[in-house]
Every structure is written in C-alpha cells, then in structure tokens.
C-alpha cells in the first residue's frame, strides 16, 4: 500500500506539486484538486513535472477542472479523471492521505 498525495496549488505559482512528486515513492498516487488541476494540463511550461514522473499514478478532480474551463482533451496522457466519489475511493484505497498545500 502507498500514500495518496493531494496537491491544491497552482504549479506555476508554488512548488507543491514538484515536491509532492519528489517525496512520493514509486506506487504512490497524486490527486490534483483546486488550482492544482493546472498541473495536469499538457503543453504548458510545467507539464513535464507530471509527464516525466514515472511509477506514480496521477488523478485530477473533474469538478475543479471543469470550473476552470479546462477540457479533458487538454490533459497529459495517463492522467485519470475522478469525480467526488472517485476521490473517496482513492482515500480509502491508500494507507493515508498527505495534503501538499
């Protein structure tokens, strides 16, 4: 079992995503929520953070993505979309949750 890392800050403004990835081990999951969802966008100056991280599963909360007008086809390949129920499933299927603010 591994931990679930939640990241809620814009990767353009803070290094929360970068460090959550750095401290997360292989097999960990990262869930992008709130302004953290921008980290899941392809074709940006920070896309490589997620695109080049191996051995970790990335998820993005659909409600927060939609609120920001970012369509699903803009996501980096391999990032999985979850709804609120999916968020709960991730929480219960991991050892614990680490919130990276």
């Amino acid at each position: 079992m591994a931990d679930l890392y939640t990241v809620n800050k814009s990767p353009f403004e803070k290094n929360s995503l970068e460090n959550a990835i750095r401290f997360s081990g292989e097999g960990a999951s990262v869930l992008l929520i709130e302004d953290g969802v921008y980290g899941a966008m392809a074709g940006t100056a920070v896309s490589d953070l997620v695109a080049s991280a191996t051995g970790r599963k990335f998820h993005v909360l659909r409600a927060d993505l939609k609120a920001r007008g970012i369509s699903e086809d803009r996501l980096i390949d391999g990032v999985e979309l979850v709804d609120y129920a999916g968020f709960v499933d991730l929480v219960v299927s991991h050892d614990k949750v680490q919130a990276w603010l």
Partner: protein, 135 residues
C-alpha cells in the same frame, strides 16, 4: 469630471482557488462606476481568469466568467493579456473569452477589447497608468 485618472488592475492569480480574482472584479466594477478610465491586465496565472468554457455546476461555486463579458458595458475599455504568460500556460487567444465594448453616446464599437501584448507593450501600459491595483 475634469480629472479622470487611469486605473490599471493587475491580475496575477488563478480564478476559484483563492478569492483574489473575484475581489478584483468587485473593485473593478466599483471603480468603473466612478467614471474613471479603467483597464485590466492579466499576467501569470491571471490569464486563467479569461479561459472560456467554465462550468461550475459540479463544484457548486458561483461561475463568475460571465461577469468578465459584461465589463465592457461597465466602461472597462481595455483588457490586456501577457503573451509570455499565455504561452507558458499552454493557451492561445482562441481559448479566451471575448468582451465587447460600445460607447452609448458616440456609438463607437469594439468587438473584442481583450488584447494580447508583449512585455514591452505591457510595461508601457503600466507606466502610463496613474494607479496600479494588484490582485
């Protein structure tokens, strides 16, 4: 009004995650009501404020993207977007909303006051402003 000042609202935060974007909008609407010359600038994560297609139905937040579209009606004459930030955020002008402007007296019309400018042009606009409000 003899001494109209040039107000520039500088927006550098993403919408929804923090209150900055919404607060900026509120202050812009107040400033415009006082017949000042009001311009907005969007830099860094601020460019995300103008992304079209926002749908907040699933997150239960107020969708304030439509409010930006009405800014022309409130007398906002210019909305400048930083080209460098737009590119770094994987966006083009096609991803952004359009805001129309019309002068009721002269009937002068502009279809879209959202303008993408380079750093030098933006620096000039900031320099010309009498006051810069940062959000």
């Amino acid at each position: 009004m003899s001494d109209v000042k040039k107000f520039m609202y500088l927006n550098r935060r993403a919408p929804y995650g923090t209150i900055y974007a919404w607060e900026s909008l509120e202050v812009v609407l107040i400033g415009a009501a006082f017949d000042q010359e009001v311009s907005l600038m969007f830099v860094d994560d601020g460019v995300f404020q103008l992304v079209k297609g926002s749908d907040t139905s699933e997150s239960d937040m107020k969708n304030f993207t439509p409010t930006y579209r009405t800014l022309g009606d409130y007398g906002v004459r210019h909305m400048y977007v930083d080209k460098t930030s737009l590119e770094a955020h994987g966006l083009t002008q096609d991803d952004l909303i359009e805001v129309a402007w019309e002068d009721w007296e002269s009937e002068e019309e502009v279809d879209n006051i959202v303008e993408v400018l380079d750093s030098e042009e933006l620096a000039e606009k900031l320099g010309e402003s009498d006051v810069v409000f940062s959000f």
